[in-house]
Symmetry: C2
Subunit: 205 residues, 2 copies
């Protein structure tokens, strides 16, 4: 799971019953985030989650539609700007950003599990919410990182002879894959491999 900074425009301020509905949805979402942080996003039913969150199954369906849509909401909300515990410095290279994300993610294994569950669901048939989430996230992340790569190539901080889009896809892939390996086995050289990639992408003197 790599750093996410979803672009959001500020929603208009809602009123009355609608405002109450939004507030209630947010309350449920906040509680769901706590539940997932505590016990991971193990594949479970909307009913079981409703029980733990302390709402009815009908309420969960009303506010989120399906289990999958709730999971996407939990993930996106948890990664919203301001909710994350730290962010990489402005001038970080794309790989340095991923190293910082990896550091943050170690503290929130439940969220990382949730991310990999959503991506695995996205690859299967019949999971439109997960697929929309995963496809959109990868596309946005690649676009954003490729932009950074081009800028840092112009500044002489990343070697000029590499394709920015390929670098972006590679960095996202390496970050996701190494995180998985490390979660399964702490002896996997996650940090070393990311540091190596960072070095390989620097200009040769």
């Amino acid at each position: 799971m790599a750093a996410d900074t979803p672009e959001r425009s500020a929603p208009p301020r809602p009123r009355g019953a609608y405002a109450k509905g939004i507030a209630r949805r947010q309350e449920i979402l906040d509680r769901a985030i706590e539940v997932f942080a505590e016990r991971g996003a193990d594949r479970t039913s909307l009913r079981a989650i409703a029980r733990e969150v302390g709402v009815t199954h009908a309420a969960l369906t009303h506010y989120f539609g399906s289990l999958e849509e709730l999971l996407v909401a939990v993930y996106e909300e948890s990664n919203a700007p301001g909710r994350q515990a730290g962010s990489p410095p402005e001038d970080a290279t794309p790989v340095e950003m991923m190293i910082e994300s990896a550091r943050i993610n170690r503290a929130i294994p439940g969220l990382v599990q949730l991310y990999s569950t959503l991506v695995a669901s996205a690859l299967e048939e019949g999971h439109p919410a997960a697929r929309t989430f995963a496809t959109g996230r990868f596309a946005r992340l690649r676009t954003r990182l490729a932009e950074t790569v081009r800028q840092q190539q112009a500044e002489g901080r990343i070697r000029a002879d590499v394709d920015a889009d390929a670098v972006a896809a590679l960095v996202v892939a390496a970050s996701d894959g190494l995180q998985t390996q490390w979660l399964l086995d702490e002896s996997a050289p996650q940090h070393e491999a990311l540091a190596l990639l960072d070095r390989l992408l620097r200009p040769t003197d």
Copy 2:
């Protein structure tokens, strides 16, 4: 999903009822592989799979224990030497091996889905068979690729100033991650990113 070549010693030839049991297990497994190839490894019940495979739920439980153990068996059997449609040349670099795997995997999306489902399960609590599978697979693959890296470093085909274990972890991660991105969006530069990594790892002239 990267190239797998599980090491297996030839099992002793079994006889009588035991032999029949093994043959029956193999029959079920072969049919299960067909079922997964046709419809992907969507998260479903052992009961639903038993129905499609055409055996009783009790038989499936008898031969495989749990759905997860069946999934692991399907994956491992599908990747067994001789069952795969092609293999990279002997002198391929680790990244070239992954490029060849990616080419093969495009023809078998069901198996790739199955792989990602098993890895996602492995990251959750309560999936011991998936965890054993994924942890063991990553560890073996890293060890094998690191060996190849060292050998090719000695031959001057991979740059000498990189740590073989970090390269191995990086190549496996990049391969898995890029496959996921490509499956979700064919415009993701999977091949370009793997070719770039291959180039970055070659000795600089």
